[in-house]
Amino acid sequence: MPSPRRRLAAALLLLALGAPALAGDLILTGAKPDKLYVIDAAKRTVLHEYRIPGANGLVGSLVPSPDGKRVYAVINRMESIVGVDLATGATVFRADLSTPTERVKDFFALTVTPDGRELIAYEVPTRLKPSEYEVEQPRFAVFRTDAGLKAQPVRVYPAQRRMHMLLMRPSGKSFYALGFELYEYDVKTGRLLGTRGIQHWEMPGHSQPDLLAFWPVTEPTGVFTSPVYAEAPQDGKPTPTTALMSLDVATGALDYRDFEPMSALIFSTVLSPDRRSAYGVYSTLTKIDVPGRKLAGRVPLDHTFYSVNVATDGREIYMGGAMCDVGFYDAATLEKKAILKLPGCADQALASLRVLAAH
């Protein structure tokens, strides 16, 4: 049997060559204080446990490079971004955002261009003056991914406040930014290309919605989804209601649809490969009938999970975040198939669980 490292190398090679399916999914997750895990989904085993030097208690918002060879993460109290080589665990990119006179946080929002050459981070800066702080305008900082371990931005653009996610469009010309509203920015110039409603969504009779997501999952469909909470009229009364927001990052199609009067909290969702089902987790695993706009199933979980994903073939649900378990559930029956405990029961906290398809 090949060693885990050789197996990963083979999988990555297949990825790179676009070879036919021989291997299953790889799962990436992070954990406190400085861990990055590469998991063989089919075998329910940890292929690699990497340590990210200087992570300082946080490994969040995992964003794989388009070629699947690296993963980027927000670390160090949200003040640094690293890129880790998935075959070796070596840190191959690092941008420390803060300086002695400016504290800069990236609120888990980063994205990478389709050619893998540039990384865009959302920066929330504060000027540190001798006896006072000065809140500065947030901005996008663009880094070259080959800039090494002392990366400095090559372009900087002003941004809105309170953004929490960036999603690159496949053209590589623009990216979405989620915050008060859904914004689209030009990659090269930073020009705001458009604004569409999140707080100002067009849902007749609905209250201002609430959406906050730190899990930038678009695999396997290229569609980002998230639960949205609002009050909607039900029998003439405002009733807490859960909607599913979906954004196709390729076509730009943005959709909101109510699917249940709120009866469970959901932190994150993912869309099935056939786009007919969405799955959500928190203390339950929820299955949503997307075209039918209704709840299709719900089972209690052993404990809270924050981050959900789905197998590339759509047959299994993967879940992580919150504690040290990675869960594998049957996508059709919602039955628990396996729990993988991370070594030393490392706490995944807010880390996003990402899937690298090896076919």
Partner: protein, 520 residues
């Protein structure tokens, strides 16, 4: 400023004297110059950026210096820290009237309703900390604006949190709130100007003391307060527990801002912290003492100068049932005198002890005595006693309480309930009898709490109405491995009343507070 570079840190250390002695001899302003002006520029003699534009309570200054040490790595020796807090609280404190509305927060009273500053400040500020914390500070608009910059810089997640992300938090905080807060809590006020000009009360002397610990314990006795060589106060307490024995205590206190008594001591062998306020005339000390490890556990404290004009501080117990007798203790000033004390119509008293500050009597109430208020008179002082036939109403206090699971780094937080009885007079008036003995039980507050068996997991209710929460952490025996939280009804049944008479309170057992500052 955050001291991020080693050279800067070293520069500060060089500025610093090697200095317990320096702390004792340097004036307050000189200490600020030595220890703070590296970052807080002295813009005019004795005027330091930021520092000179703020007034706060002693606890407020402690929190500021904590941050300077913790966040900005200021290497401040303890004795300098203490001297700075004294200097700043004395010269940039709050007048008694200014501190009064937020005193409950300084006293760390559990389960009290926070100040109501309207819906916007309630959400903008009060969703993270008490509004009392706001009300215990004074700044002008430009300084309140700097305070907003500090908030966003130090706690950048606050515009992402629930009730922060639903609005343009920063825009509101940086445009609207500074002027609003400056109108409510400005730096310069007549109250502060007047208080600064006044001679501050001398608190040494003999005092009469009463104390009440929720859950059924009352104390009375005396305090001897003197000044030590350093000019700080030393108190010796000689107390008696009603229905119990003698209880001795002592404390070492500093009085800040001329009236803010902060003591640390012991009572009955247990460590205490004292947060008291002297009245402006210096005749009265009121406040709360508590266990330093469990600030929710403590008692109400009132002391009156033993030579103050005649006044009854307490009648213990404050209610007597017809046809029964009790040993009644009256505590106050001016209680001695030639005339026999009176407990009112239908009450016969045999005096057991009578001094200027305490009167003890065995009081019997006739079976046919009319229920109602009685005036207790002794010497020139008068107080109140209630004669009742039955308990007609029972109220559980607090009506809404919070307990917190704990263990490990964060101790659990208990919740103490009391059953307050009341009797209905023939005229229909409901008169409070004070705390009455009760049997206690916890029930599920609603159907969901019943389904999740909160009563079994959240903790236990002791015989005196104190709820002790269970341990923290995921519990595999609970649904979703949930924490031992609970939503409970706390039910009291008065021992001295029919079975049907119950009072109900609401208890939420919730998760730990991970930061426990002096002002929540």
């Amino acid at each position: 400023m955050p001291i991020r570079s080693v050279p800067l840190l070293l520069a500060l250390l060089v500025l610093a004297p090697a200095a317990p002695a320096a702390a004792a001899t340097e004036s307050g302003a000189a200490l600020v110059r030595t220890w703070c002006s590296g970052c807080h520029r002295e813009r005019a003699p004795g005027q330091f950026e930021r520092i000179s534009d703020i007034r706060k309570t002693p606890e407020g200054w402690v929190m500021t210096l904590f941050r300077m040490r913790q966040v900005h790595h200021l290497a401040l020796p303890d004795e300098v820290h203490d001297a700075l807090v004294r200097h700043l609280a004395d010269t940039q404190g709050l007048a008694p009237a200014e501190a009064a509305p937020g005193r409950f927060a300084l006293e760390r009273r559990p389960n009290v309703q926070d100040l109501d500053l309207g819906p916007e400040l309630g959400v903008m500020c009060g969703r993270c900390h008490s509004l009392a914390r706001v009300a215990l500070q004074r700044r002008d608009a430009d300084e309140w604006l700097k305070h907003m910059h500090f908030h966003m810089g130090q706690f950048p997640s606050l515009e992402y949190q629930a009730s922060g992300r639903d609005r343009p938090w920063w825009e509101i905080a940086s445009t609207k709130l500074p002027a609003e807060l400056a109108a409510l809590y400005p730096l310069a006020t007549p109250a502060w100007r007047d208080w600064q000009a006044r001679a501050k009360p001398e608190l040494a002397g003999r005092w009469v003391v009463v104390g009440h610990v929720p859950g059924g314990r009352d104390f009375y006795g005396t305090a001897e307060i003197r000044r030590d060589a350093a000019g700080e106060y030393r108190a010796q307490y000689a107390l008696t527990e009603v229905g119990g024995g003698a209880l001795a205590g002592e404390s070492h206190a500093i009085v800040y801002t001329g009236f803010e008594w902060r003591g640390r001591g012991t009572l009955g062998g247990h460590a205490t912290r004292e947060i008291y306020a002297a009245s402006e005339d210096g005749r009265r000390l009121t406040g709360r003492w508590f266990d330093p490890e469990h600030s929710e556990e403590g008692g109400d404290f009132t002391a009156l100068r033993a030579d103050a004009p005649a006044e009854v501080l307490a009648v213990l117990p404050q209610a007597l049932k017809v046809g029964t007798g009790a040993h009644v203790v009256v505590v106050g000033t001016g209680l001695a005198g030639a005339a026999a004390p009176s407990f009112g119509d239908g009450a016969r008293a045999v005096v057991a002890r009578r001094e200027a500050n305490v009167l003890e009597a065995d009081v019997t109430v006739a079976a046919d005595a009319a229920p109602g208020n009685r005036v207790v008179s002794a010497g020139a002082a008068s107080g109140r006693l209630v004669v009742y036939r039955q308990i007609d109403a029972l109220e559980v206090r607090p009506a809404y309480g919070i307990a917190r699971v704990g263990g490990g780094r964060i101790a659990p937080v208990t919740a103490q309930f009391e059953a307050i009885g009341a009797t209905r007079l023939p005229g229909g008036e409901l008169v409070s009898l004070g705390p009455v003995a009760a049997e206690w039980r916890a029930e599920p507050f609603d159907e969901e709490a019943k389904r999740t068996a909160d009563v079994d997991f959240a903790g236990r209710l002791e015989a005196n109405g104190r709820y002790r929460p269970a341990g923290a952490g995921p519990n595999p025996k609970r649904e979703f491995s949930g924490n031992n939280v609970g939503n409970l009804a706390i039910v009291a049944r008065a021992r001295d009343a029919g079975d049907a008479l119950e009072g109900r309170g609401h208890l939420v057992v919730t998760v730990q507070r991970w930061n426990t500052p002096p002002i929540y």
